[in-house]
Subunit: 528 residues, 2 copies
């Protein structure tokens, strides 16, 4: 398959604009082949019209039809074979095995939503049957179900060219919900996005989905905001920086019709190491931490950027082992020059207000966009008084807050902003602190871990990838796992409707055999 | 029980401010006893601190404890007896039977949420158990559940002194979710709110709930916005005007930490009368419509303010019968001078751009704050070109859009904004239009009706009282029924937690016997 550099206005390749860009290889600095055409106002209008028309057809496709569409997208992405992996490697500097794994996760997500649709109970069908002779007034027949919001705009993320991009979790969950999707390709991996977009279009055509069920554009910031404010768009999915996320959020809530924004933006994922477990296993925890913080050059939204521990003998041992592990970590290429420069800038700022506790001694080749881990220590007082120490530094950096006792840890954590994750390491000696600490972790984060490290986000029913602001702009949802479908739906109630005009999920006979709430009882039974 | 006119800063009556107001009786114009103290900055700070502390205790109360609290509130409201009904009659001009019914609905809602909590499955417990030997990486144990957002601020509504006020649906659902509540009393029925607040405080004290689990303030607009922007507040419930709702929404989304706003604001609830059913039953429908539009002097958010029909012989019969029914409807007292003036103003504006089709010939006593119904007709072209014809006129007014054919009805409906409800009347002759019409109704409204009229909102699992903007600021939710609890929660995932630190709903043994998703299967079974 060839990368043409054209926008996908629904099924139509389009390059009406005069402005183009190329992607460069962060490992070599070389510009990669293909020039990508920045989308124009005319093209936005065309795709908005197509998305609106597609919505009217697509949301009425049966669950089984949508499931086949999602599975066909997965098959088409697999069929891209090595071409897309090679392009992604060139665009992102990420290693082959990681990208292959990420593609597997991406196609796995699509198949997971297909399975969810076939089972059908996610749609939360609720039925209260009529009581015509109720006094003082008859009770009507009421039945409700979740329906699609409308076309959704998705912003691809720099750090996951597959799993959070053209066919990533936002796209998969929106399509599963019955919403057409418009993706803004990420400029750092536009070629990968273009290949995946073509795979989605192929799948749409093979399965008879309407033109406009999927579009992908290459866009500057102004035109992206233009699309956010288009009346056709009914929700936004975004993964990226706090600045970018807030610009989109502000545009979306100031529309004539405000719309939901699911922006995952910023997290430093605190890890609390309690003294009992530290006394027992400081070296082991240090080893696990050094692997987690440097995984993928720290380019994960769940990277552990903040640790709390009591400054005791175990902490000193922890720091010694950490230093020993970190010093040998090789330099590695980051996603782009810009991201690497921002990391170096973040590290420089931390150096001015915190103590370097560990860093790699590897040679850094700037021309290869390389970076190495930096771990800092600060006192609890400094942490509380200096808000900048809580800013996310995207990359393999972490700040360790040394506290006098566990009460100081709790106080410091109270000052942290909302997070994607919070982790505690504890053993039986730490039990007395656990109630307070778990309460606080729950208040601050969407996912809380007992032991381990937050990198690695399982895709399943029970995952929560989300959390209080500024981790996301909407803590009520998750962007990973089956729960993500709930972001793109709203309930509609049908009052006194005849059977033939009801959706299948609400018919007396329950032809899809979904779990429903019927007159207050959860059941798959038909209504006699 | 006595009305003191003091704010309830948690359990503490407080009147630190210099400014007061009294409520007047709309039927007589007389000022009612008791001066209400407007809340001050100091008092806001006190209640915010109390709400924050109360949250830490309250959200950990068991489902059974919260259920007893809600049931005790219902009992305490019943114990207010005739005192609160008489005060509400004096403050709102609403008839005794209606207020008694509304109180019953309010206590019924509290008991409904108590039942929901005891059953427990609403919390959406999801469990994926570990697979330690999975390749390439072990699968962790993940379990998720919905947890309370934090303190919620509720704005009481003018038109429902019980069901959407101090102990109304927003308060009941927020308390059920585990959130402390701060109510801004509605100035038109401050005494009713004060009595109900005292009942809630009594219940909190009797059931051992923390001071600050409930507060109620009398507030001007500036101080209300001050409270909306307090960092302690994590969500807002509002029922009222579009202007008021948008002021709150804008303040809430521009906070440092934006928060969800559930504002129910504006709806004209279109009713579509198709030609087949009109030919068969124009007179019967006209009779039903005249009763619905004038019910409670039209002071319902589900009042049918907009009708569409084909301008045929049946439409002329409909208008004749309507005129005949409407002309005899007696004048009735509206909620306040201000609301009555706004209604008269809205009617005057409609008179300038639409034709009066029916109105009551009853004498209107302005000194008794009385009003009468007005029904207008407009052409489809005028309706589409004049946006003002779609503005909500709160009260017994309605606009009938006369169309040339059903296609024109669809075109006109497409121009309508988001609605709480949409209704269609159809018979077998109208079947060919139904697919398109139901699709459009579903796109525009939160509840769609086949036959009947939208006034009357059933409280149950399957009700949806909500809808696309501007009906509400968040179409993803309902403010009535058990689903309302989902507005005040967010999911949290527990990774690799030991059993004793998990909430009961997520323990292997499933001690509360709730329905859970365990490894992809809906079940109440314990995990072996």
């Amino acid at each position: 398959m060839e990368i043409t550099g054209k926008n996908f206005i629904g099924n139509t390749p389009s390059a009406k604009g005069a402005n183009n860009f190329q992607v460069s290889n962060p490992q070599t600095g070389a510009l990669l082949p293909t020039s990508f055409s920045l989308v124009t106002e005319d093209e936005i209008k065309e795709l908005a019209a197509k998305a609106a028309t597609a919505f009217k057809i697509y949301h009425k496709k049966s669950a089984a039809e949508k499931a086949v569409f999602l599975e066909t997208i997965a098959a088409e992405i697999d069929a891209l074979g090595d071409t897309v992996i090679q392009r992604a490697m060139q665009e992102t500097g990420l290693p082959e095995a990681r990208l292959q794994g990420e593609r597997g996760r991406t196609t796995g997500q699509l198949k997971m939503f297909a399975k969810l649709l076939r089972e059908g109970s996610w749609a939360d069908a609720r039925i209260d049957t009529a009581i015509p002779d109720r006094q003082p007034l008859p009770k009507p027949d009421l039945r409700s179900i979740l329906v699609a919001l409308g076309p959704v705009m998705v912003f691809g993320a720099s750090n996951f060219p597959f799993a959070y991009s053209a066919a990533g979790g936002d796209t998969a969950s929106a399509l599963a919900a019955g919403c057409p999707v418009v993706v803004k390709a990420h400029p750092l991996h536009a070629g990968t996005d273009a290949l995946v977009a073509q795979a989605i279009i192929n799948a749409a055509q093979k399965t008879g989905m309407p033109d406009g069920v999927f579009s992908l554009v290459f866009s500057d910031e102004a035109m992206a905001i233009r699309l956010v404010t288009d009346p056709v768009i009914k929700a936004i999915g975004f993964t990226g920086s706090r600045k970018g996320g807030m610009a989109i959020f502000n545009a979306a809530v100031n529309r004539t019709e405000p719309i939901p924004v699911y922006a995952e933006m910023s997290a430093i994922n605190p890890v609390i190491l309690l003294p009992g477990t530290m006394a027992a296993n400081a070296a082991g925890i240090a080893q696990g931490f050094s692997a987690s913080v440097s995984l993928g050059v720290g380019q994960f939204c769940t990277n552990p950027g903040l640790m709390f521990m009591v400054n005791d003998a175990a902490a000193q041992e922890f720091l010694a082992v950490l230093n020993d592990k970190i010093k040998d970590i090789p330099a590695a290429t980051m996603l782009s020059k810009g991201i690497c420069a921002a990391y170096n800038d973040g590290v420089a700022k931390l150096k001015s207000s915190a103590t370097v506790a560990a860093h790699s001694t590897a040679t850094v080749h700037a021309e290869k966009t390389e970076a190495t881990p930096y771990i800092f220590t600060v006192t609890q007082k400094d942490f509380i008084s200096n808000k900048n120490l809580s800013n996310e530094v995207f990359g393999p950096a972490s700040v360790i807050v040394l506290c006098s006792n566990v009460e100081e840890i709790l106080e410091a954590l109270q000052h942290a902003e909302g997070q994607l994750t919070a982790t505690v390491h504890a053993n039986a000696q730490d039990e007395k602190y656990m109630d307070d600490i778990v309460d606080l972790m729950k208040e601050k984060a969407g996912r809380i871990l007992f032991g381990g490290f937050p990198t690695g986000v399982e895709v399943c029913d029970s995952i929560v990838h989300g959390g209080p602001f500024p981790a996301t702009t909407d803590s009520r949802t998750t962007s990973v796992g089956t729960g993500a479908i709930l972001r793109f739906v709203r309930p509609v109630a049908y009052q006194n409707f005849p059977q033939h005009l009801l959706p299948d999920e609400l018919k007396d006979s329950n032809p899809l055999n979904t779990l429903r709430i019927v007159n207050g009882v959860h059941t798959r039974d038909a209504i006699a």
